[in-house]
C-alpha cells in the first residue's frame, strides 16, 4: 500500500491540474495536438537527462518504501516518468494561469493582436471532438 504513496502524490495533483486546465482551457483543453507534442518533447528530454545522470553515477534511487519498486531502467523508477510528466504539465498549466492572471490571456502567445474571429467556435469544436 505504501508503495503507491509517491505515485499517488504525483497523480492526484496532476488530476487537479487537469481540472484547472479543463476549466480555463490552458493546455490540453486549449490545443491538445500541440500541447501533447510539447509535453512529449519535454518528457523525452528530462528522461534523457535522467538516463545520462544515472549512467554517470550522479544519483540513484533511494530506499523509500513509498515507491512500487517497478523500474523503467536500472535506478530509474517508474515514478520518475510520472514526476517528469507532472513537471512538464505543471509548467504549461502555470504559464497559462500566470498569463491569464496578468491579463495576457491563455490563448495569447506571440503578440497582442486582436483575437481572430471564430477562435471561440473553433475551440468549442475541438472540445467536442476531444470528448
Amino acid at each position: 500500500m505504501t508503495g503507491l504513496a509517491y505515485g499517488a502524490a504525483i497523480l492526484v495533483p496532476t488530476a487537479c491540474m487537469a481540472l484547472l486546465d479543463a476549466r480555463f482551457h490552458l493546455v490540453l483543453w486549449r490545443d491538445p495536438r500541440r500541447s501533447l507534442a510539447v509535453l512529449g518533447v519535454g518528457i523525452l528530454l528530462f528522461l534523457a537527462w535522467d538516463v545520462v545522470a544515472i549512467s554517470q553515477g550522479f544519483y540513484h534511487r533511494g530506499a523509500s518504501e513509498a515507491m512500487t519498486g517497478l523500474l523503467l531502467a536500472p535506478e530509474l523508477p517508474v515514478e520518475e516518468l510520472l514526476f517528469i510528466t507532472f513537471l512538464c504539465y505543471v509548467t504549461l498549466v502555470l504559464h497559462g494561469l500566470v498569463a491569464m492572471a496578468s491579463g495576457l490571456g491563455p490563448a495569447s502567445e506571440t503578440s497582442d493582436r486582436p483575437r481572430r474571429p471564430g477562435r471561440e467556435l473553433q475551440a468549442g469544436r475541438e472540445r467536442e471532438g476531444a470528448r
Binding site: Y6, D31, R34, S35, A37, V38, L39, V41, G42, L45, F46, W49, V52, A53, Q56, G57, F58, Y59, H60, R61, G62, A63, S64, A66, M67, P77, E79, L87, C88, V90, T91, L92, L94, H95, V98, A99, S102, L104, G105, A107, S108, E109, T110, S111, D112, R113, P114, R115, R116, R119
Partner: protein, 103 residues
C-alpha cells in the same frame, strides 16, 4: 563530467530554443514576464519539494559529483530542472504556433 556540467548542457539547449523562439515568433516582453514569473514559481516549488523528496529517500546523490551548495536539502544543480522546464516548454509551444494562428 559533473552533474553541473550535464545541467549546463540542458540549460544551454533551453536558452538557445527560447532565443530562437523569441526571434522567430516575436515573443513580447509580456510573454517573457509570464515565463519569468512561471519559472520563479517553479524554482521555489523545486526547493521545497525536491528537499521533501530527498528527505523521503526517493533518490540519493553521489556527493562527489555535486558542487556541494544546497538550498535546504536540494542541490543547486537540481534547480536547472525547473529552469529548463520554465524556459523550454513555453518556447516550444510558441514555436509550434504558426504566426498566422496567433490570436
Amino acid at each position: 563530467m559533473s552533474y553541473l556540467g550535464l545541467a549546463t548542457v540542458f540549460v544551454g539547449i533551453a536558452v538557445a530554443v527560447s532565443a530562437w523562439a523569441t526571434v522567430r515568433r516575436g515573443l513580447t516582453i509580456r510573454w517573457w514576464a509570464t515565463t519569468a514569473l512561471t519559472t520563479a514559481i517553479l524554482l521555489g516549488l523545486t526547493v521545497v519539494f525536491d528537499s521533501l523528496m530527498i528527505a523521503a529517500d526517493l533518490f540519493r546523490f553521489d556527493e562527489a559529483s555535486l558542487l556541494g551548495v544546497r538550498l535546504w536539502r536540494a542541490p543547486l544543480e537540481d534547480l536547472a530542472w525547473p529552469l529548463v522546464a520554465g524556459l523550454l516548454l513555453p518556447s516550444l509551444r510558441a514555436l509550434l504556433t504558426r504566426p498566422t494562428e496567433a490570436p
